[in-house]
């Protein structure tokens, strides 16, 4: 006996096997991203007032990427429809456009990521708190932090800091919480009551241009990486997982575009099903971004 309904739909459900399978898989994906969004909400609601930064992400780039993905949602349907209308040439074009959109999205996303990796929060021991860029020996530094500044054998005695213009970003977390037994709570409370943007403004006003900082004066230095704050943690986690989904989808669609498209000649119906199933997955990936964009960039 062969496995039935691999290509033709089962009469009473009206679906072929892979279509049931992909919908179930998407249901589990909804739970996966649902859990991450719930975590985002819980972490944000539980965050101290000044711990959740605003304006860190570039809304224009995000909007552009949103349009890229929405366009790919259209082309992915057009690719499937072309096959349904027996037009293989158009399929090749639209599928190619979809894959192009996918890689354009990933390219823009990696540009956004790399911008974050060289953008810093700097807290000095005198209480000044700034965001900006770091240069070590004339080169822009990525992924630097206060632990690396003092790493044994690789100490960096000083670096150049280019502060951001005033009020570019608000609510950047002030400093690493450092409760030393007993006094800790009071010290923390003090730091919290001081509004972030004020210190920021002060610092910015005082130092518009580059300043040379001694590593021994640094209280905390952190690039905008996951460890920077819970906000960046969840940002990188959700967008990273979403990016992996985009990459996975793009690889599968590339396979159907080039080597896998041979199936069109031997089993056209099965090939159309494949395009449909991968398209369903692609729509889901788009949909996740439609939620991600407002939640992370706008709210």
């Amino acid at each position: 006996m062969d496995i039935p309904y691999t290509v033709k739909p089962r009469p009473d459900t009206g679906l072929y096997n892979a279509k049931v399978g992909i919908w179930l898989f998407l249901a589990s994906e909804v739970m996966l991203f649902g859990a991450l969004f719930s975590s985002y909400i819980l972490l944000r609601v539980g965050a101290e007032k000044l711990e959740w930064p605003h304006g860190v992400l570039n809304v224009y780039i995000g909007t552009f990427n949103t349009f890229v993905l929405i366009s790919s949602s259209i082309t992915v349907v057009m690719a499937w429809a072309s096959l349904k209308m027996n037009n293989f040439r158009n399929f090749k074009i639209f599928q190619g456009l979809t894959i192009m959109c996918a890689f354009l999205f990933l390219g823009v996303k990696s540009y956004e990521y790399s911008e974050k990796f060289k953008h810093y929060t700097l807290v000095l021991k005198d209480g000044r708190n700034m965001t900006g860029h770091v240069e070590v020996n004339g080169k822009t530094a990525f992924f630097l932090n206060d632990v690396k500044l003092n790493a044994k054998g690789h100490e960096i005695p000083e670096f150049t800091f280019h502060p951001d213009p005033v009020n570019a970003i608000s609510n950047i977390p002030l400093e690493k919480t450092e409760p030393t037994a007993g006094k800790g709570e009071a010290a923390k409370g003090e730091a919290k009551t001081e509004p972030a943007h004020e210190t920021h403004a002060e610092a910015g006003a005082a130092h518009h241009e580059a300043m040379v900082i001694k590593s021994s004066d640094v209280k905390r230095l952190s690039a905008f990486v996951p460890a920077h704050s819970t906000y960046f943690g969840i940002y990188f986690c959700i967008t990273g997982l979403h990016g992996l989904h985009v990459l996975g989808g793009a690889i599968v669609m590339f396979y159907f575009w080039m080597p896998g498209s041979k199936m069109w000649r031997t089993e056209p119906e099965r090939f159309i099903n494949r395009i449909e199933v991968s398209g369903l997955f692609w729509h889901f990936v788009d949909l996740v971004w439609i939620f991600l964009f407002p939640v992370l960039y706008l709210l």
């Binding site: 062969d2 309904y5 096997n17 859990a35 819980l42 972490l43 943690g233």
Partner: protein, 615 residues
């Protein structure tokens, strides 16, 4: 039947082109990288049984420490030290090697839970029985996605390897309980990165992915591949149980996967999703940003954790149902109410999770909600159990080994279920939480409950898988002593728990004993502490009782009594209407179903069973 079975070999599964010559499959394709659901089921079964045994040996070492705190583990002490290092296994006052350290005790405890739940019971109940039996019972040639099925076994196996290897890395395996509560799980082994917890998380992500692939495959198979005439109300209860289990895995596991990813980031990238601000570890401030929520981990964990309990028990109920009907020669009582109860369990199990968290201070209003739903979910479980008991009424019962295990399941699961009620009420849970009472409660559900159902299933479907029966006499010996020792192990734990003994005591409660605290009115009396020794000896008895099973299992594969027909138990469901053992593709022609699954002793019928595919 037998001659027809050869024809089916030539049928080729379209979805994989490399399989064009089934008869010439080499050893690797046939047994290791097989896409046949029966082979995969057996792979799952053997791997899971091995992990079941491994998890049990971890517990035996822990039980020694509880009964004889600070004394060297006999026999295997030296071996343990060689394998795990001198940091983990030390010498006692007399110079004997084999005293396990608190860290090792903790990691054995955490890994015992993880291995038993995620690597032994679920793969055995869902992976092994689900894979082997479900397609046969619905008259399908295979699972809907055979290669996905293979991938899910491989992901499971890899997850198992990662978990197993974690014992031998610096710092040892995960040691923060099978629940891995943060921040403990993140800060418990700061000296090592990656540490046991990292391995645990990577292993879990693999196991969860495996379960997700399996769940997609099972549900699709049951929806799409039911044979002609097999409508939903003609499905055997076993298939219904697997169906609901599939949905639980599909929808409850992803949040734990999300939680696992977040904790992995806490562990490797220095984020603080589950680390609150101002955390001080060993007198030093932890260098992280803070701002996370430990409660978030618990919510995400138990959102899986509670449906997981039903993942553990539902397939067991399915197996028991098949065996009870078959061996009491009666239709199941209340088929529809059982099906609806299983579905109700499935839905409600998603809204009871926080009854594990009454003592986290999440608030009385939330506790009240979860207490209410917890009481409601006990109703469908009681309906199913009641239907089982009434099914026996007036039957002509055959007391063979599978039936004995299935019968024992009923009171054991009953004890386990009823003792859960005091834990579900948040007032009484305050006293019982985190005590040995909890251990006794859930082990009664899972050990003499689910594991007995799984043993019943092994004895029951063994002849279908191998064509030979397992030995009845040794089966009964296995049953009698397992039943006796299971109760001797777990019953005393109720009393220890009620006396207030904490479940996480490395020294078996000696620190809080009356002997060490003569003035305390709340100290544990010597009779409560003394129970530790009885329990430990009973656990070793339980281990001995498994020897007949292990020998019987392997001996019967080669030397067991050959079955005389394809249907040795005179059963009605489709799994017994195939050749024995079923060939690749299972059925020679597509079977057609004309009746319900349990038509035993139909008046006026020549035999006392009417197969589903008989007109």
């Amino acid at each position: 039947m037998q001659s027809k079975s050869h024809d089916t070999h030539q049928h080729v599964d379209q979805s994989h082109g490399h399989d064009h010559h089934h008869e010439e499959l080499g050893f690797w394709k046939k047994y290791i990288f097989s896409t046949d659901h029966k082979v995969i089921g057996i792979q799952y079964g053997i791997t899971a049984l091995a992990f079941l045994f491994f998890g049990f040996t971890l517990m035996m070492v822990m039980r020694w420490q509880l009964a004889y705190p600070g004394k060297a583990v006999p026999i295997v002490g030296g071996l343990l030290q060689k394998l795990l290092g001198e940091e983990m296994v030390g010498k006692d006052a007399l110079g004997h090697i084999g005293v396990i350290s608190p860290d090792l005790y903790n990691s054995f405890g955490a890994m015992h839970g993880t291995i038993m739940v995620f690597l032994a019971i679920v793969p055995l109940a869902f992976g092994a029985f689900g894979n082997f039996v479900t397609p046969l019972q619905i008259g399908a040639p295979d699972m809907a996605f055979p290669r996905l099925n293979m991938a899910s076994y491989q992901a499971y196996f890899l997850g198992g390897v990662v978990m197993f290897c974690s014992f031998f890395i610096p710092g040892g395996a995960a040691k923060s309980g099978w629940t891995s509560y943060s921040p403990l799980a993140t800060v418990s082994d700061l000296g090592h990165r990656p540490n046991g917890q990292t391995f645990w998380l990577i292993g879990m992500v693999l196991l969860i992915s495996s379960s997700l692939l399996g769940a997609v495959n099972f549900i699709t198979t049951i929806i799409q591949l039911r044979t002609k005439g097999l409508n939903w109300m003609r499905l055997p209860f076993f298939v219904w149980a697997q169906f609901v289990t599939g949905f639980l895995l599909l929808l409850a596991f992803p949040p734990l996967e999300a939680a696992g990813i977040l904790q992995l980031m806490d562990n490797l990238l220095g984020t603080s999703f589950f680390l609150p601000s101002g955390l001080v570890v060993a007198g030093k401030a932890l260098g992280v940003s803070g701002g996370g929520s430990p409660l978030l981990w618990q919510h995400l964990f138990w959102f899986l954790g509670h449906p997981e309990v039903y993942v553990l028990i539902l397939p067991g109920m399915g197996i028991v149902c098949e065996i009870l009907c078959n061996n009491s020669r009666k239709p199941v009582w209340g088929y529809k109410s059982k099906v609806y109860s299983a579905l109700a369990i499935g839905f409600i199990s998603f809204i009871v999770w926080a009854h594990h968290m009454y003592l986290t201070g999440m608030g009385t209003k939330i506790s009240t909600f979860f207490q209410t739903t917890t009481m409601i979910i006990s109703i469908p479980s009681v309906i199913i159990l009641t239907c089982f008991f009434i099914t026996l009424w007036g039957g002509s019962i055959r007391f063979n080994t599978p039936m004995l295990f299935a019968l024992a399941f009923l009171p054991m699961f009953g004890i386990g279920g009823l003792t859960g009620l005091p834990l579900g009420f948040n007032a009484s849970d305050i006293a019982l939480h985190d005590s040995y009472y909890v251990i006794a409660h859930f082990h009664y559900v899972v050990a003499p409950g689910t594991i007995f159902a799984l043993f019943a299933g092994v004895y029951f479907w063994f002849p279908k898988a191998t064509g030979r029966m397992m030995n009845e006499f040794w089966g009964k010996v296995h049953f009698t002593f397992s039943f006796l020792f299971m109760n001797l192990v777990f019953m005393p734990m109720f009393f220890q728990g009620l006396a207030g003994m904490s479940r996480r005591m490395y020294d078996g409660g000696a620190t809080y004993s009356l002997a060490s605290n003569p003035d305390s009115i709340a100290a544990l009396s010597s009779s409560v502490i003394g129970l530790n020794k009885y329990i430990t000896h009973a656990a070793y008895g339980l281990a001995l009782a498994q020897i007949p099973f292990i020998i019987n299992f392997f001996w019967s594969i080669k030397k067991g009594k050959k079955v005389t027909s394809d249907n040795p138990w005179n059963a009605t469901t489709l799994d017994w209407q195939t050749p024995t053992p079923p060939p690749h593709g299972n059925f020679a022609t597509e079977p057609e179903v004309f009746r319900g699954p349990y038509e035993y002793s139909v008046p006026g019928h020549p035999t006392d069973f009417t197969p589903q595919n008989q007109k």
